[in-house]
Amino acid sequence: MDKALLERKNLDALLVAIRKVAKLFAPARDGRDGETAFSPVESTAEIHLEPVNTRLSAKGLFFPQRETLMRFSGSALSDVTLPTGAFVVFGVRPCDARSLTWLDCVFIGGGQEDPYFQERRKSAVVIAMACDQPCASCFCTSVGGSPYGSEGADLLASATGKEGALLFEAHSDKGGEFLRTYADFFAAVDGDTLKERDERAAAAKRRMKALDCADLKEKLDAGIDSPLWDTLTKTCLGCGVCAYLCPVCHCFDITDEKRGAEGVRVRSWDSCQFPRFTLHASGHNPRPLKKARMRQRIMHKFSYAVETAGTVFCSGCGRCVRACPVNLDIRRILAAFKDLQ
């Protein structure tokens, strides 16, 4: 069984069943402005799937912003505990699910596995939710994704015309197993539903403005010394919003914290946009200017990653477009280099 229909009335029961064996995360209200964040949820009433994506992507569920790597006592290691516990994430947008595959490249690939990330990936089922209402800031189709994309997801759920019923499609062994395990809650899918699904997918895609990214890498490589980097980043404030909200940005710091003899070695998100990121203890900084730092971020995503991982490291989720305090807009930067002669 790789496709199944979940009727609205069964949704709550399914969640209850899932919660018996795993933690469940889904977009829930966060803060006073009505936006959402992945939170542990107990019932469907708490789940809010809005046109605007969650504030932060699902990245933090696999690569938490702060994570204890080990504990120490004096100068001796006292404990290394890897994360445990199965969890299910529901409502991950296709752009964010796709981003997980790139985090896999970084944390599991490269000849060295990161056990913390790996453990979480192994113990999670990712249920993506297709987008029927992509936002103005979204550009997934420009970077090879789609509002109904399933890359990185174990299952893709999508809305149907049938009174809130959701179509579930398995896209991995884990996803197939999920449908078998919870088969009691699901009904069979008919041809009309699948046809409707394709129409919806096409309609969602049509809503999106496409950015031509065809020979972007070549253009960026050629423009590495272009004065555009300066002019386009003049108003950048140098905060970490773009990197922290990005579902693919994965740079981190490792620091020790202690009180008395007891302490922890933790890793935490970091950003190449902070001057201290590359600052040597000597005071020397090989990337001292804002324009070089923004260049690093863009080049890493659209040129370096293409060389090292064979793909751009941007899923077009648009968070950096929406949340940049000065509206730098990554699409505008890319377009400027596309037009560079």
């Binding site: 914290e257 202690k258 009180r259 007891e262 302490g263 922890v264």
Partner: protein, 145 residues
């Protein structure tokens, strides 16, 4: 300090920032005069109460202090003429802001003690200790790694 209070068991840990010229000397006087006060304070000597950075206070609380006491020369008596007067404005704001976000006002206290006021110092420590003891251990800003 009363026997009863001593018997209560839990002794708060209070970081006391004392200015070099007045309050530290006042504490010294309390000591050489063999005045009794609770063994709750850990003294950090600073050149002037004007040297106090609010971060000192925050760091003390984060490091697990149950209370913070800051004391300098009485207004008008500053060794550096006006260090304590400039500091007083900072202190007023810090005290108010910490209370505003919900940290018990008794946790962070400010006072003036001169070099001759050994008795005042001892009773100040007694008061602050009692205040903090009533509140119990400070957990709001304490960091436990």
């Amino acid at each position: 300090m009363s026997e009863a209070a001593m018997d209560q068991g839990w002794q708060p840990r209070i970081v006391a920032f004392l200015c070099n010229w007045c309050s530290y000397a006042g504490a010294d006087l309390a000591g050489v005069s063999r005045m009794q006060y609770p063994p709750s304070i850990r003294v950090i000597r600073v050149p002037c109460s004007g040297r106090i950075n609010p971060l000192f206070i925050a760091s003390a609380l984060q490091s697990g202090a149950d209370g913070v006491l800051v004391s300098g020369c009485h207004p008008g008596d500053c060794h550096y003429l006006s260090g304590n007067l400039v500091a007083r404005r900072k202190f007023a704001l810090v005290k108010s802001l910490l209370a505003h976000v919900g940290i018990e006002p008794e946790r962070v206290q400010f006072s003036w003690v001169s070099a001759s006021e050994g008795g005042r110092f001892a009773s100040l420590v007694e008061k602050v200790t009692e205040d903090v003891r009533k509140l119990g251990p400070q957990k709001k800003l304490a960091k436990v790694p």
